[in-house]
């Protein structure tokens, strides 16, 4: 088998000890890339990543931006789905194109307009979501995923008339975001069905099982705080969480070399979110638990 070429990936100026200044420069560079000063990249920006529709307005808007220098073909599709956990405590978004009749799916009666379009270079396209729920829709929350597929309008390799065998691969980008439709008073809550933690090597490993109460999805944050026996905080970590159905998470956080002794890990599950506007997050009472850990 032939190894194609001998060109190694160029080494970045960054490394594990990247300074804050270098990070800022990196961010600026990426922004310049995003706004189309490079002709190489092809990008799609989707905002916001979580859309909420109220039954009284029955409409919402999200934006697809094409910061590239070539047109982008964009397709929008709605499919019922939500995040589910796997046997390893990971999470994936499960799409259910044909959900059972009793599933709280909004995918069948929310339309995206336009569902397909070409976004010009540098332009931003508003995609309107219009809901036409069935008559007599019960109060509650209804869910869907918004699938935004984008690809460059230019062929990757031009056709040739020679005898060569060429390969032209089109790389498409697909973003899956969430849609929540609410009618009437909707509540949510979360309960902690299991919490275990241990220190293994240089990591704090946590195993969490969460359940949901109420009719709405629980959108919140897992906040872990590790304290030593003098109640000094050793570390704190946050992880956004969405509980649509029973959820099992296994998470690992770096703690470095901990001195031997007794520690306490505090877990707080609350509706704090930095990435979703506060009015869109259903309030719920926080849940907290603490565990003692011995580090030999």
């Amino acid at each position: 088998m032939k190894a194609q070429g001998e060109r190694p990936e160029p080494v970045s100026a960054g490394n594990g000890t990247t300074t804050r200044r270098r990070e800022r420069l990196s961010a600026l560079g990426a922004l310049l890339l995003t706004i189309g000063l490079s002709g190489v990249a092809n990008a799609v920006v989707v905002a916001p990543h979580a859309v909420f529709i109220d039954h009284r307005t029955r409409a919402a808007v999200f934006y697809v931006q094409n910061p590239d220098q070539v047109p982008a073909e964009v397709a929008v599709e709605l499919v019922y789905g939500y995040p589910v956990s796997d046997e390893n405590g990971g999470v994936r978004v499960e799409l259910i194109p044909d959900p059972p009749a009793d599933a709280p799916s909004a995918a069948r009666w929310v339309r995206a307009l336009p569902a397909r379009c070409v976004v010009a270079p540098g332009a931003r396209q508003a995609i309107r979501l219009l809901a036409q729920p069935p008559a007599g829709l019960a109060d509650g929350e209804y869910w869907s995923r918004i699938i935004i597929t984008s690809r460059s309008g230019q062929p990757p390799v031009p056709a040739t008339a020679d005898e060569a065998v060429k390969v032209g691969l089109t790389l498409e980008m697909r973003t899956i975001t969430s849609l929540i439709y609410r009618k009437g008073a909707v509540t949510t809550g979360v309960h902690l069905d299991g919490f275990a933690a241990r220190v293994a090597g240089d990591s704090l490993r946590a195993d969490i099982r969460l359940g949901r109460s109420g009719g709405g999805a629980f959108l919140g944050t897992l906040i872990f705080a590790l304290r030593d026996d003098g109640d000094q905080r050793v570390g704190e970590w946050k992880q956004a969480v969405a509980v649509y159905s029973d959820l099992h998470r296994r998470l690992a956080f770096p703690v470095g070399d901990l001195a031997p002794g007794r520690y306490t890990v505090h877990l707080r599950v609350s509706t704090e979110r930095e990435d979703i506007p506060e009015p869109s997050v259903l309030p719920a009472a926080p849940v907290e638990q603490a565990l003692a850990l011995d580090v030999p």
């Binding site: 032939k2 706004i35 916001p48 995040p83 691969l169 980008m173």
Partner: protein, 171 residues
């Protein structure tokens, strides 16, 4: 964080000089000059997976660390967890002719820095859960692969589509 996102979007729009409505195939949009939106998710195809010309009868492999591998940049909420899925073809086509393409268990990689040599390799057939960089919300993903032309492979430009699917797991 929210403010940073808005500023980024507005700066991008101003710099591109195109804050007006986008031309589109079916619908018109009406946009304000400043729009407050929540968190964003951006995928940038930085580089195509480029096999170039291939030799008949000789499989050609591009590894993650090769400069010809495909590279994506994902940007979003700092430290957020995302899932990565690749939708992969098994063959490429030109007219009625096909060219097999395959992706091994280390054909994909990800890293929060643009350093393919340090990427965490994974099987692109399996969903990968990872996190955007805590300091800037960046994540790079690479994809290599192998094409296997036969000795009698007809000439032409064999095409196919590879799709990277990115989703936040926390919303």
């Amino acid at each position: 964080m929210m403010r940073a996102v808005v500023i980024t979007l507005v700066l991008a729009g101003i710099a591109a000089g195109l804050l007006g409505p986008a031309p589109c195939a079916r619908a018109q949009s009406i946009e304000a000059s400043a729009v407050v939106v929540g968190g964003t998710l951006t995928i940038t195809r930085e580089r195509d997976l480029d096999f170039g010309d291939v030799i008949r009868g000789v499989p050609a492999t591009i590894a993650v660390g090769n400069a010809a591998s495909g590279r994506f940049l994902i940007r979003g909420t700092r430290g957020a967890e995302v899932s990565l899925d690749f939708l992969l073809p098994t063959f490429l086509m030109v007219g009625p002719n096909t060219l097999p393409i395959s992706f091994g268990p280390t054909a994909a990689g990800h890293h929060t820095l643009p350093q393919a040599q340090n990427a965490v390799l994974f099987d692109p057939h399996v969903t990968r859960i990872t996190q955007l960089r805590a300091s800037n919300g960046f994540l790079y993903a690479w994809l290599g692969g192998t094409v296997s032309p036969s000795l009698t492979q007809p000439p032409g430009v064999y095409t196919g589509a590879i799709t990277l699917v990115v989703s936040y797991t926390g919303s």
